[in-house]
Amino acid sequence: MQRVIERILNLLAFLLTVGRPVTAEEIRTTISGYGQATDEAFHRMFERDKDLLRRLGIPLELAPTDGWQVEHGYVVDPETYALPDPGLTDDERAALWLAAEVVRMGGQVAAPDAIFKLGGAPVTGSGEPLAAALSEGSDDLGTAFLAIAERRHVLFGYRDKPRRVAPYGLVHRRGHWYLVGEDDDRTKVFRMDKATDVRAGGHPGVFERPEGFRAADAIPGAPWEAGAEDLTAKILFDPAVAWWARRQIGNRGSTAETPDGSLLATIPVANPEAFIGWLLSFDDAAELLEPTELREQLLALVRGEV
């Protein structure tokens, strides 16, 4: 490990200072640590080292060494390499570290690597009786995030169809990551865990986000708000479950208590299936009063007809 790190520090020091593209051959003959290797061993070593540099976020690129573009060499642009200083205080670094320890992405314990880049912070969070698990934080999510930041397209498969989306935002809500973006001239929402083969487009800056766009508004707070229907449902909840219904409805509808303690709720419904699914979780303690067609749909489901 020691030899690998020495070699890479030498390589990186050279690339950061040389100011021109450097061919693999020049690297092999110039940089301490590569010289003794056979062709094949050098090739293997160099591939691994490139991988490692890119994994750390180091912008290692290929560029032509001359105007005729016959030969290509490696470049690390010092400006792209550097993290712009966000100007964090020690308290702020510690708070980020705490958050990273409390919140898991896809079951992963936060690695301190990113905090180190920001200037490090004393370990604080152990013993904190609070924990949160966000849905899978895979590389796909990082790819989508990069595309958003650099205004590149995101390409992926979704429901067996290839998509090319101008990504406006990423939202984590109700236990899932959603990508919001424009696809076929319409703003759409995709669940990230259903997207396959996620890639970022080749060109940055290819779209503009609509002015005043708010990603948070694109993802409904309740499942029955995600849909195209425009219905208004009236439901009567038994007194025993009134508290639970009220808590779940929140400000998504209006509620009124009847004299016997039941709860009469009026709720806008955009997705009837999801709404009925939710109502059925109340067993026989909720009655869907209106509209009639929704009531019939629910009863048909309960009778086992659909």
Partner: protein
Amino acid sequence: MTSTRTAQRLNRILAMLPWVIANSGASVAEVCERFGYTERELAADLDLVFVCGLPGYGPGDLMVAYIDDDEVIVELADYFANPVRLTPPEALSLLASGMALISTGQAPEALETAVEKLQRVVLGDDGDALVVDLAEPPFVGELRGSAASGEVVRIVHTAIASGQTTERDVEPWAVFTTMGNWYLRGHCRMAEAERVFRVDRIRDIEATGETFTVIPRSLEPEIGYTPGAEDVRATIVLRDAARWVADYYPVEVVRDGGDGLVVRFSASDPLVVARLLLRLGSAADLVEGEAVAATLEELRSKILASYAPD
């Protein structure tokens, strides 16, 4: 593939150097605390840096790095004066965890300004392009406080499956959220065992004034459901419209056949499975599970009766 340990060590060196360069005169203890080093590890990394530098590799080409009387010295290493930019997954994970904690209302103030600053660097003006919302039910803050101070709480809790409401004294260990729900984990004095409660099913809490000894433990944000011997089992076929069930419930996939995805379901109460089957309609079929079948029929009649004209 290079090992993760090599990557982590290199990452730490490339982060430590800029900080030491920017904070000359930093003590060994300070660098160690900040970057999670032991003194021996720091010394080893400085030794390593000392033999690296620019081609020529003689004095004047190599970096200078050593410990002098408790002070960390780094010279001739200006090309490493800046830390490496964050990778997209790193930036996302930092911002997302910060926002997640803020959305719970449980974050220190410094976190809000930290996230704002980081957002500006990573996303520019599109600050709201990333949203993390852990909708939080009542009592999370109170329960976290009680868990930290070791205070026994009395909760009024309504179980999801049975609908039964109980009042119980709980020694809270932690509150956590996963898959969109919040949970309380602790020792239930009524059950005399470890229990997990959904926080949104807690109707009320009350401090008892009694205390317990807080033991530091590793508390994973997982429900950790393990089927018990007395659990109800059922085998279900999920057709296309119902395949999502396999993502949401702890099921065991038996096979993915022509008629759909066959899964084995295990639950402490047959009602959980019956409710699911009811809402799935013809998108799912019960293949095996007598208790569930009986409960499902009961549920159907109960609901139909409640809809019948009086």
